[in-house]
Structures are given as C-alpha cells and as structure tokens.
Amino acid sequence: MSRYTITGETGEWEIVVGLEVHCELLTKTKLFCGCPNAFGDEPNTNVCPVCLGLPGSLPVLNRRAVEMAMAIGTALGCEIRPSSFHRKNYFYPDMPKDYQVTQYDEPLNVEGRLTLVDGTPIGIVRAHMEEDTGKTTHMGGDGRIHGADYSLVDYNRSGVPLVEIVSAPDLRSPEQARSYVSELRAILVATGASDGRMEEGSLRVDANVSVRRFGGEEFGTRCEIKNLNSLRSLVRAIEYESRRQVELLERGGSVDQETRHWNEVEGRTSSMRSKEEAYDYRYFPEPDLVPLAPPAEWIAEVVAKLGLMPAQRRERLASLLGESSEAIEEQVATVIDLGLDDLVVATIASGADSRLVMARAANEAAQQPDAARQLDPERFGELIGLEAAGTLSATQAKAVLGELLTNGGRPADIADRLGFKALASDELGAVIDAVIAANPGEWDRYVGGDDKVAQFLLGKVMRETKGRANGKLVAEALASRRG
C-alpha cells in the first residue's frame, strides 16, 4: 500500500488510527440473564429484573457468550487469560443500573493480530466482554440530542453480550482502516459469533485519530470519533478529522483529547462534550460476578470447533484456481463473503471446471445465497459439466441453475423440462447461414477482418435461437465460415 499523507501548508503529515469495534454476539439470550437477545422486537418486551437493574437481582454469566468471545480471541490470535468484570459507573438513562458491566484491567483476550488482505499486520490490544446498553430516542426538537424535549428508552438491548475489539494504533490511512474493519467483520462472521451487520448496529466502530509530522515517532493527541455506521462513514470521518487536526496544528493550535460525533449529512465531526464534563467512570470490581478463568480443556474445545478463517479460505480457493486476476479476486471475495466457498471447493473437487464453477457461484448462485449454501456439490458439478461440454449455452446454464436453486432436481432433467435441448449442429448451421444471408454488409466487413462485427452476428444468432445456441460454438462456426 502506498503511503498516505496529508499535505499541509507547512509540510507532510501522517495519520495514526486505532479502532474500537463493538460486536454484538449471536447468543439466544443476554449476557447476564435469560431475556432474548433479539433485534427489532417491541420495545421493553425483552426485559427482566437483571437487565433493568432492579434491586436484589443477580447477574449470571452466559456460557455461550464466553465461548463466542474466546472464539473471537482465538481467531485474532489472542492469548486467552483469566479475567474479571468491573462496573463502569456513569449517569445516563441508556443503562438503568447507572453502570455498565465490562472487563477492565483483566480482559479475556489480549495481544492478538489481524493481517490485512494486503499482508499488513495490525496489532490487537485486547478483545474483552461487556454488556450493551439500551436504546434512547430523542424526541422533539429536530430529533437530535441538542434541542430534544425528552427522550424515550427501550431496554431490549440492555445486557446484550458484546465483545469490544481494540486495535493498536497501527493504521496509517482511511483505506487501511476500512480494510481492517472489512477483514475483522469477515472474521467475526466466520467465527459464528456475529452477523456483521453494521447497518443494524450489531457491529459498531469508534475511531481514535491523531496526526503527526511525517516520519515522526511520537503520537499526537487523539480524538475519538463516534457514530460511524458504515465503512463509508469510517473513511470519510477519518479523512475529515485528520485534516481538521492538521489545519488546527498548522494554525498554531492544539488538539484537545475529546470524543467527537460524526455527522454523516454535514460530513464533519463535532465535539460531544466539553473538557469539564470529562468522564470519571470510577471502575470497581463487580461484586456480583466471580472471576472468569476458562480452563485449558474448555479453551481447547472452542479452538477445535473453530472453522477456517477468511484468510485460510482465500488461500484454499487461490490454490484451486491457479493464476489470479482482479476479476477472480472479486469472485473469491464474493464467494467467501456469502459462505459459498465450501460449495465451490467441493464442486471443483468432484472434477468440475474450476473457473466456470467460480463464475457461476460468484455471479448466479450468489443471487440466492441461502439456497446455494444448501446446494449439493454433485448437482452443481453436473450443471457445470453440461455447460463446459457445450450441451447448455451460458444463458441456458444460468436458467437451469436458477431453477436448481429454487426447486431442486437434476440439472439434465431441468434442462429437458425447460426445453433446453442442445441445438443440433445442423440446425445451428442453418441459423448461422440464414443470419449471414440476412446481413450481407456486416458479413463482408467481418470477412474483411473487422472482428468487432462478430459480436453483432453472434447476437443475431442468439436472438434467432432464443439463447439456446452455445456462444463459443457460434463464434467457432463464424470463424470457420470466414475461412
């Protein structure tokens, strides 16, 4: 990756970014109680004395949440350590207890690494467990906090298990930050711990951004940017914030360490609270929860259950596909993102043409990913075989695949039912001759060496045969007639 710098009036600046990613875990229930962990239910229907913080209620840690947190830690190459929970105290109505239970000085996962697709290693400082907060909606005014008349609170999300993944300040460009979140998201989905949906808030990103003179060693003062709801916001916010800091410093000002809010519509960040309001969370050990010290056997069980990670999946496909290209890399990314790579690998293993398998998986099967994940590789392989042999044209193969995914069956039977009989070669020959006769001018140009006209003639043949002809065979027939 080329170096990213900001050119100011006084020289070149480098940006330093560290990211905190909050990931909601896909457990059935909340972190400390048996209320459902569900998105989009009627407000305040998934609440109980524990997640409402009613007096006398006692939290008990969810075993599955711990397993998912350990799976995430393992996938990020972290060391899993004995850990404990703290109370982070603050007054805000999104937590009815007036504190959030989180891991403070003894996080479950420490010192890992995430390798970007381009090979750059990014340090992971920690990946700890904590509970999510409730959801506040500001009413009156313009719907924003400032000017709101009152707020409404839904505690369905309060107590939902989270893992917060904190990166080292190793990122040096907005694009690297995007690449980090994108790879992290793929890893989280691969562990089965997350659905990776940023738009639904199940993956939330805060960015710590600072700038320094290019080539400098010391870090500048950082600002934490919140409300980054998409990869696009992340990139834009880092671009804006780093430029703001450079301009501030070049004017002789200094950066205040503060939390800033990203406004997607205005395309700018703004200070969320003044320094006097800086929070003092008064962390102290949560007396209602005993320490968490996963025994080695339990960790080993979680590690053994972990499937292949995206990087391993990419390598596996690359080794099957041979020489790569940008188009193939895109196909690989799509197939892995949709979880179709097991299908592709099994189909190729059954002897089907690897490039054709990838193309049909990434383009057509990807339109129906749920059905495609259930597809029998043997059936998929049969379809690819029919297309590779020229029995089905590309258009026909796509139609058969659509039917195969929707209703199942055997590709050959589906082709018969759809009337996709292979065009007999004499029938095809007759159509080609007719097209040539009907378009003498184009034919002359083609014979004269204008290869671009071939597409036109091919299109005519396809229309005449209603897509039944095999494009490759038609092209060959045209070429042989040209002599």
């Binding site: 457990t27 059935k28 229930t29 109680c33 048996g34 209320c35 459902p36 407000p43 305040n44 229907t45 998934n46 609440v47 109980c48 004395p49 409402l52 008990v60 840690l61 969810n62 075993r63 599955r64 949440a65 711990v66 004995p82 404990s84 007054f91 805000y92 109505p93 999104d94 003894e106 907060t133 506040t136 909606t137 500001h138 906090i145 709101a148 008349d149 009152y150 707020s151 409404l152 609170v153 839904d154 505690y155 919140k226 939390t259 809010h261 969320m272 609270r273 309001e277 929070y279 003092d280 969370y281 050990p285 007396p287 929860l289 005993v290 320490p291 968490l292 010290a293 996963p294 025994p295």
Partner: protein
C-alpha cells in the same frame, strides 16, 4: 498521612454522584471524608508485597448459566414502575450530552 481531602475534590465527587452541596456542606464532608480515608490508610502501612490482589471475596470462578431463555417481565408491569412512559418506552427528561 496523605493530604486531607480538598473542597474541590469533594465537589468533584459530589458532581459525579449528582449531589448538590453548599459551601458549608463541602467543608463538613471534606473533614468527614478525610477522617474516613485516614482510618482506611492503616491498611496501607501493611506490607502486602507477597499478597495477591483479591478480585473477589469468594474463591469460586466460572459461575455460568446455559444460553437458555427465561421469563421476561410483562411490559405493563415494567412501565408501571416508571415515573413516565410513552409508546411502550420509558420517558426520561431531556438529556444533555451524549452517552458516555
């Protein structure tokens, strides 16, 4: 012995606890809190170099529950306990500033 607690420190603590204290109260509590701190400081005179920190008074670890659903409270009952509710949600006074 450490410095006695300043009135500024007491004001800060009061603010964190959302308590409004007058001048006289700040002085009074500064004295009382300093006395409490002084009392607890006795512990700091002990040599604890060889004593591991106590994360929890119990020796138990890994108290866990299975990821299984249990009953929730009925919403009417939950909201009935709140000073104000609207549209199935808790209604709270205008919030100044963002969530921490």
């Amino acid at each position: 012995m450490n410095e006695p607690l300043s009135k500024d420190a007491v004001a800060h603590i009061a603010r964190l606890a959302r308590l409004e204290l007058g001048e006289a109260e700040l002085s009074r509590f500064a004295g009382q809190l300093s006395a409490v701190l002084e009392h607890v400081e006795a512990i700091q005179r002990l040599d604890t170099a060889e004593v591991p920190p106590t994360s929890h008074p119990f020796e138990l670890v890994n108290v866990l529950r299975d990821d299984e659903r249990s009953a929730c409270l009925p919403r009417e009952a939950v909201l009935a306990a709140a000073p104000a509710a609207q549209d199935g949600r808790f209604r709270v006074p205008r919030i100044l500033g963002e969530a921490p």
